[in-house]
Amino acid sequence: MDIFLVWVDIFRNWLTAGIGVPALAAEIFIKIILVLIVIVFVCCNLIVLVWLERKFSAFYAMRRGPNRLGPAGFFQFPVDIVKMLAKEDIIPKAADLPVFKTASICAFITAILAWAVIPLGKGLVLEDLNIGIFYFIAIGSTGTIAFIMAGFGSNNKYSLLGGMRTAAQMISYEIPMAFSLLGVVMLTGSLNLSDINDAQRNVWFVFPQILAFLCYFISSIAETNRAPLDLSEGEQELVAGYFLEYSGIRYSLFMVAEYAHLVAVSAIASIMFLGGWNPLFGLTFIPGFVWMMLKIYFMIFLFMWMRWTFPRVRIENLMHFGWKVLIPVSLLNIFLTSIGLYVFQAITG
C-alpha cells in the first residue's frame, strides 16, 4: 500500500466519520482535490524541466546556462513566470477573437486530460480505465485542434503555416505511435495501463519490442513538437509558428501544455516499455513511485539529448520518413509480434 493512498483514506475517513459529510459529496470533493494535485504535479515538473532544458542546452553548446539566481540558476524560471504573468496580454486587432482566446486553453486542457489515466505507482491514478492506453491515444489526437485554432485565429500568415504544419505532422505521426503501442497491447492482451505494468514483472517490453520502442520514441518527438521534428515552430522560416501572436499568460499556457505533453509521453513510454514502477535489480525497498519518476526522467533526458544534438529536418523529409519508414516498420513489428505470439503458444502449448 502506497503512502499517498493511505493519506487519501485517512482524509476520506476524516471527512465522512469526523465531520459527517455524505459519502457522495466526500468522494466528489476528494476527486477535485486529486485533480488539482495532478495539475500541481505537472506544473512542478515544468519548473524542473525548464531548468533542465536550459542547463542541457548550455552543456551541449559549451555554455554555462542560467547561473545567477539561486543554486545553479534554479530560481530563474520562477522569476520568469512572474514576468510572464505581469506582461500585457496583446491581442491582434484582426484576430478571430473567440478562437484566439480559447486556443491556448484548449491546448492546456488536452494536455492535462491525458493525465487522467496515467498511473505513477500502484493505484496512484485518477481513473484506472479499462481502455487506458486507447484513451491516451484518443485524447492525444484531439490535441491537434488547439494548434490549428491558434494558427487560424491569429490571422497571421506565419501562424497559419505553423498551424497547418502541426496538423499535417501530428496526424501523420499519430499512426505509427498507435501502431507501435499495439505491439505491447498484443503481448499483454489488455488496454489497462496497470495491467500492462504488472505484465512486465519479469521482462521489460523494451527487449521483445525494441522496434516498437524506437518507432514510439521518434513519433512522440514529432507529437510533442520538439526539435529535431519541430517544424511547426521553425524559427528560420516561421518566426515562431502557431503561437507567434501570443504573449503573457496565453503564451505560457502553450508552454505548460508542451511540457505536460512531454512528461505524459515519457510516462507512457516508461509504463509501456520500461517496466513502469517495477524495480530494477529487485531493489524493492525503493518505492515504486520513485522508480517511475526515475524512468520518466530518463526518457525526458533522451528527448532533451535528441533535441540539442540533431539539427531540424526539412518538412518533406519529415513527412516521407513518417509515411514511408515509420508506418511500414511499425506494421512489420505488429506482424512479427503476432508470429512470435503463435510460436510461443505452440511451444508452451
Binding site: I131, F134, I145, I148, F152, I171, E174
Partner: protein
C-alpha cells in the same frame, strides 16, 4: 436522477452546438462547433457505459475527421472569413423537408416499442466488440477495410494523375 440531469446537460450542449454550427456565418467556427457536437455524442456513449465506443468517437470524429475538414477549409478559404458560410436561398423547400423529417422521426420514435433490459452493463466492452467483429461480423469488417483501401488508392491515383498532366 443525476443521470437524467447529466443527460439533459449533454443533450443541450450537443444539440446547441449543432444548431450554432448551422447558423454560424464563419465556416471555421462551424467546424469547431461540430467538434463540440461530436464530443457531446461521445459523452452520451459514456453515460450508456460504452467507454470504448466513446473513445473511438473522440479518436475518429473529433481527432481525425474534424482536423481533416479544418484542413480542407484552410486550403480553400479566401476573402472575408465572416461571409464564408452564407444562407441558402431555398428556405421554403428546406423548411418543408425538415418538417417532413421531424414528423417521420417523431412518429417512428413514438410507435416503436422500446425493449427495457434489467441486465447490468458489461464491465469491459472492448473485448466483446473485438470478438464479435472478428467472428460474427467478419465479412462486414473486411468489406469496410477493402472500401477504405480503395478510397486511399483512389486518392493517391488522383494526386499522381494531376502531377503527370501539369
Amino acid at each position: 436522477m443525476t443521470m437524467a440531469v447529466m443527460f439533459y446537460i449533454i443533450a443541450f450542449v450537443t444539440l446547441g452546438s449543432a444548431l450554432m454550427m448551422v447558423i454560424s456565418k464563419n465556416i471555421f467556427h462551424s467546424a469547431l462547433l461540430m467538434l463540440i457536437s461530436f464530443i457531446g455524442v461521445a459523452a452520451v456513449y459514456i453515460l450508456l457505459h460504452a467507454d470504448f465506443l466513446a473513445a473511438v468517437q473522440v479518436l475518429v470524429y473529433a481527432g481525425a475527421i474534424t482536423v481533416f475538414i479544418v484542413f480542407g477549409i484552410m486550403f480553400t478559404m479566401k476573402g472575408e472569413p465572416r461571409k464564408t458560410n452564407p444562407f441558402s436561398q431555398n428556405a421554403i423547400p428546406a423548411a418543408v423537408l425538415i418538417l417532413l423529417f421531424i414528423v417521420i422521426n417523431a412518429v417512428t420514435v413514438i410507435k416503436t416499442v422500446w425493449p427495457f433490459s434489467n441486465i447490468a452493463p458489461p464491465e469491459t466492452t472492448a473485448k466483446a466488440i473485438g470478438d464479435l467483429m472478428l467472428t460474427k461480423y467478419v465479412v462486414g469488417f473486411e468489406v469496410t477495410a477493402v472500401l477504405l483501401l480503395t478510397a486511399m488508392v483512389g486518392a493517391i491515383v488522383i494526386v499522381k494523375g494531376v502531377k503527370k498532366s501539369s
